[in-house]
Symmetry: C2
Amino acid sequence: MSPDSETLLRSCALFSRLTAEDRRKVTEISVERRYGKGDQVFAEGDPSDLIFTITSGRIKVVKAIAGGKELILEILGPGDPLGAIAAYESRPYPASAIALEEAICIASKRAPFMALLETCPSLVRGMLGGFSLRVIELGKRLAEITGSRVEARFAQIFLKLADRLGQPRASSIFVPLVLSRQDLADLAGTTMETSIRIMSRWGKEGVVSTESDGFVISSRDDLEALSR
Amino acid sequence: MSPDSETLLRSCALFSRLTAEDRRKVTEISVERRYGKGDQVFAEGDPSDLIFTITSGRIKVVKAIAGGKELILEILGPGDPLGAIAAYESRPYPASAIALEEAICIASKRAPFMALLETCPSLVRGMLGGFSLRVIELGKRLAEITGSRVEARFAQIFLKLADRLGQPRASSIFVPLVLSRQDLADLAGTTMETSIRIMSRWGKEGVVSTESDGFVISSRDDLEALSR
DNA sequence: CCGGTCGCATGACCGCGGTCATACCGCCCA
DNA sequence: TGGGCGGTATGACCGCGGTCATGCGACCGG
């Protein structure tokens, strides 16, 4: 790993509570990896011999579904663990991971990482907490996707993005994340055509507009109303 | 707890690897609870001060979705933990739990259970394993529900039931689980009407027939074909 | 300058499945 | 015995959104 790996590790929620000594151990079993936009971190079905922790950039976790389409399970960012779920039971990765932008990960070898878990309670707590949040989150997605129509799901997606990475601006919120119409469709579990239709209509109505480096949400309240 | 609680605990995957001493500790912080068909174990939104472990019977985990409907997230049985995910981060339960039949649970108080986790590595391993399987499972459900049409999802549901609790019979498989048409609809994320339509058609076609104490799957291959 | 590619946009069509309405049957209880 | 009730069954209707097709502007390498 690069010399500043110690700093990278400390910036991750998962490792921030470790002792310096334990962080050094993590460093020893890890290498740093860099990805360009669109690069694949790992593919669905690959043997899971690496556990990743994102230090910068956003990465989408996608799963192939019927008809050659794909579904975005979640969008992860700095501090989030990646591939840990599969690795825990040494199963193949249940989904693929693709960088949405320039990204850097810490890749730790599975076996020694598991060994480290044994002796490191705070790391275990971090993993358990992360897993349980993901179960909750996935349950919520499942409920949304079965219970709401497409437009409402789009509203829910943008509300979530606004909460997670929105930057307040003059009477609007900016989401600094570039997603194609296809990405949005894969998030909502719909087709690119409907994704385009909704986004272009919302653009005209001034609900959400697309810029070259992200989205602008003019009114959170409008989205809230649309999300039911 | 009742005198045979020790035996009950040992029968659960989660606790089977504990030392007798640790199992005694679990017993101390737990009470046994019994439920009749349709009884609610806990409700979505309730504060999660209890962690349950099922010792007998099946329990469905349901989440309310738009329009007063509900979605079955999963069906749990003997040995499965219940409510652990919410409890871990002391959040309210993200879903409700309802007994599908007569059921018995071991209910452990949250705080001491968490304390026990600290000193009990094998219990932690069990929790992590259980959580990761659930994340994988939920991801799969999400992919199925967005990628397949209703009939294919029904096929996937029955295939899963067959694998989990099917009993081989003369050239057919028996699933000893009573689910109403409404339950099936809530599992597939559809309405009772379409659920009824599919099941009554399948009954006539001899794919899956409903009996008073469960379902009979005549041909696993037929379901496999229908599941795409 | 041009052909090729990629992402975005928009219209026409139509089928799956959600909604509404009605009916049948077994069961329990007054 | 009759009436209410919960679960199951079936038909008619129609709207959301998936599918197919076509077009447009931006960008890029030749």
